[in-house]
């Protein structure tokens, strides 16, 4: 932690990193929501990824201490050479020139008002600072790609964001002698096995454990021994339950260190995605191999969440409003389930068996998702929500159609939805009705009423039943018009910007 080692003892396995840090006096990391929405709790993890160590910002409120035991972490206090004095409790500390370039930009451009969100922004920006990829600016010069989405998981109630965006864009390339940058080219040991135990939980809670196996075999053995144990991958669903609904489990199995679940195989026919791969790394490593998923990623929660959220968690959570299921249904994905008894494969459409229920048998976990590598003539993903970035779907839809180029008739159609029924669903009757029909406005208009009646969605705080029903057909009409217009219609997530490379700014003091 910030370059020193912290002993962990006697804590409940459900303890979040946020609570742990604040208990230990590292109070720069804030709690704004405890459900992964505000980013005030962001901390930096140095994570061993496919291409080597990388700084990633994660929500400490949704990360269990047990998941990151042994990891190198940094909080806002550990980003400048002289972290502000903890005990003095004053706002003074390092001078502006001694600050990390990210911190300095935030100070100089007015990026903080009340300052409560600021540590989280600084942390997200810090990770982005070392991630920023070189590209060419519109004028052809070398530039840095800045993804506005990198801070979409941080809420600020005061500034209105403009100065924060400005601060982000003003950042130069990290200097050659930047100690944090240098750390990225040194080796990092993989996370190993770990466990936590708490006995005599008050209120008759008995004993609680967390195991973190370091292999698939280890995980399956633990699961066979205790089929009721709760698996935790990124924790972005599970820890929300812990924080908001006070859920507790006698045994947790953290999948963090199971490398076999973090593989990605880009085959000629199929792509096999490890269920434990986080979505950020998946997006990066897919490198555009699945365009429909590339439409989905920027709309799926925020960078902070995607840095931990896994595809496995999204599917097993089986929420009717999950975003990946409609996309994967439209792509005819299959799932691979594993237990000590062996592995089995299932079409995704058969995986969802009821409201938040799946075909997973006791002792089984989701090992991988297989996506056929075929390119439909047209395929798009739609997310209807209150906000463009970082929102949960009111309705999610993914459509894929194949057309016979000669006759412009539909040869195959997949219409998949989330948010309109108890599970992610496909409108199979309409899919069949489309086949053989010409891909025209008339066909779409004719089938729209049937599509609208395909499901009977409910009303909730995200949207009324009537709106959801309308969206069943409207999203599909929109899809049709986009195929005709040859472009996406309506608001799109803000694009990433490529900015000229600025020279590094001198910074007083050693870095890391």
């Amino acid at each position: 932690m910030n370059g020193e080692s912290l002993e962990v003892e006697g804590i409940d396995p459900h303890t979040t990193l946020l609570d742990f840090l604040r208990d230990r006096g590292l109070v720069g990391t804030k709690e704004g929501c405890a459900e992964g929405e505000c980013g005030a709790c962001a901390v930096v993890v140095l994570r061993l990824e496919h291409e080597g160590p990388r700084y990633v910002a994660v929500n400490a409120c949704l990360t269990l201490v047990g998941s990151v035991l042994g990891a190198e972490l940094r909080t806002v206090e550990g980003l400048s050479p002289q972290p502000g004095s903890r005990s003095a409790g004053r706002a003074a500390g390092p001078s502006v020139a001694e600050l990390h370039p990210v911190q300095r930009a935030m100070v100089e451009l007015g990026g903080s008002q009340c300052g409560y969100c600021t540590p989280g922004f600084v942390v997200s920006m810090f990770a982005e600072y070392y991630r920023r990829e070189a590209s060419l600016t519109p004028s052809g010069e070398p530039g840095l790609r800045w993804d506005p989405e990198s801070v979409a998981g941080n809420l600020c109630r005061c500034t209105g964001y403009r100065p924060i965006r400005e601060a982000m864009r003003s950042l130069p390339l990290a200097a050659e002698d930047d100690g944090f940058r240098a750390r990225l080219s040194q080796p990092l040991a993989p996370l190993g096995e770990a466990s936590l135990v708490r006995e005599d939980v008050p209120g008759g809670g008995g004993t609680r454990r967390l195991h973190r196996p370091a292999s698939l075999a280890g995980a399956l053995a633990l699961l066979a021994e205790e089929p009721a144990a709760k698996l935790i991958a990124g924790g972005t669903d599970l820890v929300v339950e812990v924080n908001q609904r006070d859920r507790r489990w006698p045994t947790l199995i953290a999948l963090e260190a199971v490398d076999e679940l973090r593989t990605l195989e880009l085959g000629g026919e199929e792509i096999r995605i490890g269920a434990g791969l986080n979505l950020s790394e998946l997006e990066h490593r897919l490198g555009g191999a699945l365009p429909l998923l590339d439409e989905l990623f920027p709309l799926f929660s925020s960078r902070l969440i995607r840095n931990r959220a896994t595809l496995g968690g999204n599917l097993v959570n089986a929420s009717p409003i999950g975003d990946s299921p409609p996309a994967l249904l439209a792509l005819d994905a299959r799932v691979v389930l594993a237990s000590q008894r062996g592995e089995r494969e299932l079409p995704l459409v058969e995986f969802f068996t009821g409201y938040r229920q799946t075909a997973l048998a006791p002792g089984e976990l989701l090992r991988a998702v297989i996506v056929p590598r075929r390119a439909p003539t047209h395929a798009h993903f739609y997310k209807v929500s209150k906000r463009v970035l970082d929102d949960i779907s009111t309705v999610a839809a993914a459509f894929a159609v194949d057309l016979d180029p000669a006759s412009n008739t539909v040869t195959r159609a997949r219409l998949a939805y989330g948010g309109v029924a108890a599970t992610p669903v496909r409108a199979q009757a309409v899919e069949q009705a489309l086949v053989g029909r010409p891909w025209t406005a008339e066909t779409v208009a004719e089938l729209a009423p049937q599509l609208r009646e395909s499901f009977t969605p409910l009303s909730d705080h995200r949207g009324s039943a009537a709106y959801r029903q309308a969206m069943l057909a409207r999203t599909f009409e929109k899809f049709f018009h986009e195929t005709q217009a040859g472009r996406r219609l309506g608001p799109q997530p803000p694009p990433s910007v490529v900015l000229p490379v600025l020279p590094p700014r001198p910074q007083k003091g050693a870095n890391a």
């Binding site: 604040r22 600050l99 008002q113 300052g115 506005p148 964001y161 009111t394 705080h461």
Partner: protein
């Protein structure tokens, strides 16, 4: 205030007017800036409190019958607080005393009926779940319409009526045209990033000390004293800094501090209360939802001749500040428009919900939205562009508001308007939007400009006073105390600038102290945008006294009449020997040296400053007076693009021109304008509070209640401050900036209206029925309404 007159030739205001970062910015970015709950690690033996929340919106219970046996059996549970523990009054209401800390009649779902103290938060939570309360549920009123039907009111009808032609009915009858409208305006959750928090402990003398995240330390002190049955001199309250407040900690911080203090009183140990987000959302009040019904009379050009407006607000269960908030709504329904015949009647409804409270704008936004809704409809009815109809109705120099206050500087409205239309390239962009719309059947753009006039002062006149205490030490270092609290608005930064200039020292010589009731007593809340006007004048006056005394000392040393001395840059010198002058060194004195000398000569180096706003008054019964010291003006242009399939939209560009007088701190002021705008946009678009029929709040966290993110911030966001706008009657010629920009966001709503209207077939002039907030769903139904040529509204989740 002769002492603050600028002297000749010398730049005596090197700090005021400079674009400085927030005084705690380095602390913010390093995590070293502490907030109330960050102090917890210092209280090793602190207890944690957790409430027992009512599942019913309205119910009766007996405090004496609360069964805490099971809770006390849990390891780590220390005690359960009920009414029996209250030594003083069981009463925490701010204005009317109508809020029980431990109720026998539950008035909203989620209300705390008892509090459990535990060695750990975990124990307190387990304990709270184990407390058994026997509720007798009662019928509950959970919507405004139910409250109107049941005549459930918290106030009498508040009225402002004025007319050129006698009464409004007659004017309406005589008007060439009339129209009617009805609009429900949603509430808003403050969602300050730092939730409510307090830690109570014992000070060195064994008296009560409360750290509270409060905008109003004096009232928090008063409420704690009331509950504990103590004189106020035995209670000290400190507000270190707040992680946002926006009005939500003006009175709602009080019960939090009261519980902490009561817990400390009962156990003798420090007690920490911190709401998590869900508690905060289910227990604290919000911006008032409003219901507006109106009739308007107008002529063929769109000139308003009469406006009859009925406003209802959903006050929740208790009075809180609802009456003053309703008054401010009445005061702002005219916005920038001269309405010759106006009647506005406002009444606060009592419902079984959280007690709605102050929130940036304080009722002004709701009144203004209603007025702007009316104008937009009139424009549509007469077939003219809305911006022309708006401009046609502007106040002119010499006009008075319906409550009789002269609209001073009314010329600024057209000055801002035309300046902004020019800098935002309004006319050309309007044409471009029309062209875009003609060629895009499924996407439409909308462009709108709206103005703001916002009255500055507490409308409760006696609150317009402030105090400061400035201390100069022998080494020339300075401490500044004042009654205002820092919640991110940059008040401390401005006070630092004023104090540094007031004493002619450098910024690093001055330290701003956390706000404490033992430094400045009987303060008003930091609210109504007035923090820097009031406290700034008090700080300036305190500094002026010290400077005058020090000038006497320096005058003797330098053999110069004191009145000829200038204080700047940490030095004191005759005005003819300003820095740069060859004799400056020899004929000047360092501030440090002078402080030392003054001490030796037994001259007092500390002073209290006091300020009250002159000449404001309001007669409620007559509906007449001068409630405001002055008005702040501004205008905004917004452009949106709407997706006709889903109702989703983006804000493409925003241009703002705003009047902050002479800015004390331009970086801070710009931040207030941008932040206020985006917060206002959230209120009008994505932020939707939804209560279930039984009164349970369905949107109780960030996952269900949607604040704007960076994705909602327009890529083009231009903000300019109105030049040549010094306000003579205010400290340093500045104007208040906290609230007025919030209402600039009404331009977003009006731009959406324009875009929605563009989906209508040519022939079809159905009014745009746009829900408020205009969520994508609300926009979608508005589009469907104009497509079908009729007004239709389906509200979410009902």
């Amino acid at each position: 205030m002769s002492s603050s007159e600028p002297p000749p030739n010398v730049p005596v205001t090197p700090h005021v007017g400079k674009a400085l970062p927030h005084e705690s910015a380095v602390g913010h970015v390093t995590g070293a800036a502490h907030y109330t709950d960050d102090l917890l690690p210092r209280y090793a033996d602190a207890l944690h409190a957790w409430p027992v929340q009512s599942p019913h919106a309205h119910a009766r219970l007996s405090q004496a019958a609360i069964d805490d046996a099971a809770a006390l059996a849990i390891e780590g549970v220390v005690t359960v607080l009920t009414v029996a523990d209250v030594p003083g009054a069981n009463e925490v209401g701010p204005v009317a005393h109508d809020e029980a800390l431990f109720p026998e009649e539950v008035m909203h779902c989620g209300q705390a009926v008892a509090w459990v103290l535990g060695e750990t938060l975990e124990a307190a939570k387990l304990g709270a779940a184990a407390v058994v309360v026997d509720y007798e549920p009662l019928p509950a009123i959970t919507t405004m319409r139910q409250a109107i039907a049941a005549e459930s009111f918290l106030t009498e009808a508040l009225v402002i009526e004025s007319g050129d032609s006698g009464d409004v009915e007659a004017a309406l009858a005589a008007a060439p045209h009339t129209l009617e409208g009805e609009l429900e305006i949603g509430g808003q959750e403050h969602f300050y990033l730092e939730t409510q928090a307090a830690i109570a402990c014992w000070d060195e003398a064994g008296e009560v000390f409360v750290h509270s995240s409060t905008q109003h330390p004096s009232e928090t002190q008063e409420v704690v004293a009331r509950v504990l049955g103590l004189h106020r001199n035995r209670v000290t309250c400190q507000s270190l800094r707040m992680g946002g407040a926006f009005g939500g900690k003006e009175v709602q911080a009080n019960p939090v501090a009261a519980v902490a203090a009561l817990g400390a009183h009962k156990t003798g140990r420090p007690v920490r209360v911190r709401y998590d987000r869900q508690l905060d959302m289910t227990m604290t009040g919000k911006r008032h939802p409003f219901l507006a019904r109106y009739r308007a009379g107008y002529d063929g050009d769109g000139r308003i001749v009469a406006f009859d407006l009925q406003l209802y607000s959903d006050g929740g269960y208790s009075l809180d500040l609802s009456k003053a908030i309703m008054f401010r709504a009445l005061f702002h329904c005219d916005n920038c428009y001269r309405i010759p015949n106006l009647r506005v009647v406002g009444r606060v409804l009592r419902t079984h919900k959280t007690s709605q409270t102050a929130f940036r704008g304080f009722g002004g936004p709701q009144g203004m939205v209603a007025g702007e809704d009316m104008l937009a409809r009139v424009a549509q009815a007469v077939g003219k562009p809305a911006h022309e109809v708006r401009a046609l109705n502007f106040y002119a120099e010499g006009d008075r508001t319906p409550y009789g206050q002269l609209v001073r500087d009314a010329e600024r409205i057209p000055r801002i308007w035309s300046g902004l239309m020019g800098s935002a390239d309004f006319e050309a962009r309007r044409a471009a939007v029309a062209e875009f719309n003609a060629s895009h059947p499924h996407e439409k753009r909308g462009l709108a400009i709206t103005p703001v006039k916002f009255g500055i002062s507490f409308t409760t006149s006696f609150l317009n006073q402030a105090g400061a205490l400035v201390l100069v030490y022998q080494d020339g270092s300075v401490q500044v105390n004042h009654g205002g609290t820092e919640m991110g608005q940059g008040l401390h930064t401005k006070m630092l600038q004023i104090a540094a200039d007031g004493l002619g020292v450098t910024l690093d010589q001055v330290r701003l102290m956390p706000t404490r009731t033992d430094k400045v007593p009987n303060t008003s809340a930091t609210a109504a945008s007035s923090g820097s006007d009031l406290n700034g004048a008090a700080v300036e006056r305190a500094c002026a006294q010290i400077r005058e005394r020090m000038a006497e000392v320096a005058g003797r040393r330098l053999q110069v009449p004191p009145m000829d001395l200038r204080f700047a840059g940490g030095r004191v010198f005759p005005f003819w020997c300003a820095p740069g002058h060859p004799d400056h060194g020899a004929s000047s004195l360092g501030f440090v040296e002078l402080a030392q000398q003054a001490y030796l000569e037994r001259v007092s180096l500390f002073a209290a400053g006091y300020y009250r706003t002159p000449a404001i008054h309001y007669d409620e019964a007559a509906g007449r007076g001068k409630p405001f010291h002055y008005f702040a003006y501004g205008a905004a242009v917004s452009e949106v693009e709407v997706d006709g399939f889903t109702g989703q939209f983006v804000l493409r560009r925003v241009d703002i021109l705003h009047d902050v007088g002479s800015s004390i701190s331009p970086l801070i002021d710009r931040g207030q304008i941008e932040g206020g705008f985006i917060q206002g946009m959230g209120w009008l678009t994505s932020e939707e509070l939804i209560w279930a029929e039984d009164g349970r709040l369905a949107t109780r966290g960030a996952s269900t209640y949607k604040l704007p993110t960076l994705g909602e911030c327009p890529e083009a966001f231009h903000v300019e401050l109105l030049p040549m706008a010094a306000e003579p009657a205010v400290v340093k010629g500045s104007k208040a900036v906290g609230e007025p920009p919030f209402m600039l966001a009404i331009s977003v709503r009006e731009a959406l209206r324009e875009a929605v209207a563009a989906f209508a077939a040519e022939s079809n002039a159905a009014p745009v029925e746009l829900g408020c907030p205009s969520t994508p769903e609300a926009v979608y139904w508005a589009i469907e309404g104009v497509r079908e040529g009729r007004a239709k509204q389906v509200s979410a989740a009902e």
